[in-house]
Symmetry: C2
Subunit: 236 residues, 2 copies
């Protein structure tokens, strides 16, 4: 015998939306798509989808992410549940927002066409549907908050990267300038980085040494409390 269901309560649609961050060595970017159906068809939007009956929210976000980027095993974290009644004018729809940090170079090899995805500079996000701009704002804030104490930004980098690239990344996230001497001392003192013998010759004539993550240490420290950003700074 089935117990009675929760009668006389209203059900609603539940979707996930993904705020997908990437970093090209210079600038922080977001991956957006052209919405393919009504309402708001053709406008820019976060990638999203409805949660299916047998799926957890996390699984739904992974599915949606894979659908767009082809990537799996990506850093994905629940951001916030958005649910005011008319956020989707057509029908009440809750959205569980996730933010993802991906290696933009892995993505660029993928060919995903249906959604007309495009990378936008974080500073040049176009108008978006519904409350997606709020979601992005919150994701930026959470990323700043989190990256201040945990080495999460490495998820945005390829296997090999240079210190100047890493500093660009931190400067982008915090929209501020940092002293390269203090920055490298602090980062290197964590012991997270392994210096490589090769240099990256793209960004400069002299070239900058590549580093890789010390993966074992990285996993151990991932949930620790560190102190990655400098105290309040003078900008020149």
């Amino acid at each position: 015998m089935e117990l009675t269901r929760y009668v006389s309560q209203n059900r609603m649609l539940v979707a996930v939306d993904c705020i997908i961050f990437g970093f090209d060595g210079q600038d922080l970017k977001l991956l957006l798509i052209k919405r393919g159906f009504n309402p708001e068809k053709g406008r820019w939007s976060l990638m999203g989808g409805f949660v299916q009956p047998k799926e957890s929210f996390e699984n739904a976000a992974q599915r949606v992410l894979k659908q767009l980027t082809g990537l799996e095993n990506v850093y994905l974290e629940q951001l916030y549940a958005f649910g005011y009644p008319h956020r989707d004018p057509l029908e009440r729809t809750a959205s569980i927002a996730y933010f993802a940090l991906i290696d933009i170079f892995k993505y660029e090899k993928q060919l995903s066409s249906d959604f007309h995805p495009e990378w936008f500079l974080l500073k040049e996000i176009p108008p978006l549907i519904f409350d997606h701009a709020d979601m992005i704002e919150m994701a930026k804030e959470k990323l700043r908050y989190k990256a201040a104490f945990q080495p999460v930004l490495f998820e945005l980098l390829p296997e090999k990267f240079t210190l100047p690239q890493l500093q660009n990344l931190y400067e982008g996230v915090y929209e501020s300038l940092m002293d390269k001497r203090n920055f490298s001392r602090k980062i290197l003192s964590t012991g997270l980085l392994l210096k490589q013998k090769q240099k990256d010759k793209v960004g400069s004539k002299r070239g900058a040494f590549y580093y890789k993550l010390n993966n074992k240490k990285y996993r151990n420290m991932f949930n620790g409390f560190l102190n990655f950003i400098p105290y309040p700074k003078k900008l020149k």
Copy 2:
């Protein structure tokens, strides 16, 4: 004309659940209720309720909280959206968990009877329905995380409180001991506290001075990054 709805998608129930923290000057506590309906009738549970058609999640949480405690304008923050398919065995139900920090003494004056609420020591939480224990675990963690950098724990205190009480609170949240000299220096250096002339004579013969929050400063600092917990410590 109405646009087509999102046909062939499944809707689900959405509820809110509240993790309600209190502090009696000595220990951290949680407010739990006896669930009044099936399934799992009569077992301990977080206070919750279904989100109504015209309600945001935040409003639903406020409503539920007021229903139980009689309190409004309480510190309330979204924690996480729990949604794996069978968390409620009866029917798929998402739960948006909120955590609340309330002044336990304000509550104690309220008479709310229907739910058979009881305060439990945070260290002595009974078995709970569904995934409520996970919610509490996450709430504890988030409170620790947040209180490390923001003066959020004052939301748990009455208007007037003593430094030893405040220290008990921090020690309870971090399950560790702190040096009272360093603690008071650090707290007082924020300028958040206003010393009162009266003393609390309950906790000791000599009595401890009351302090009040400097509310203006409090509001300004609330979203700042501070450093409230000591670096790794030796416990005696």
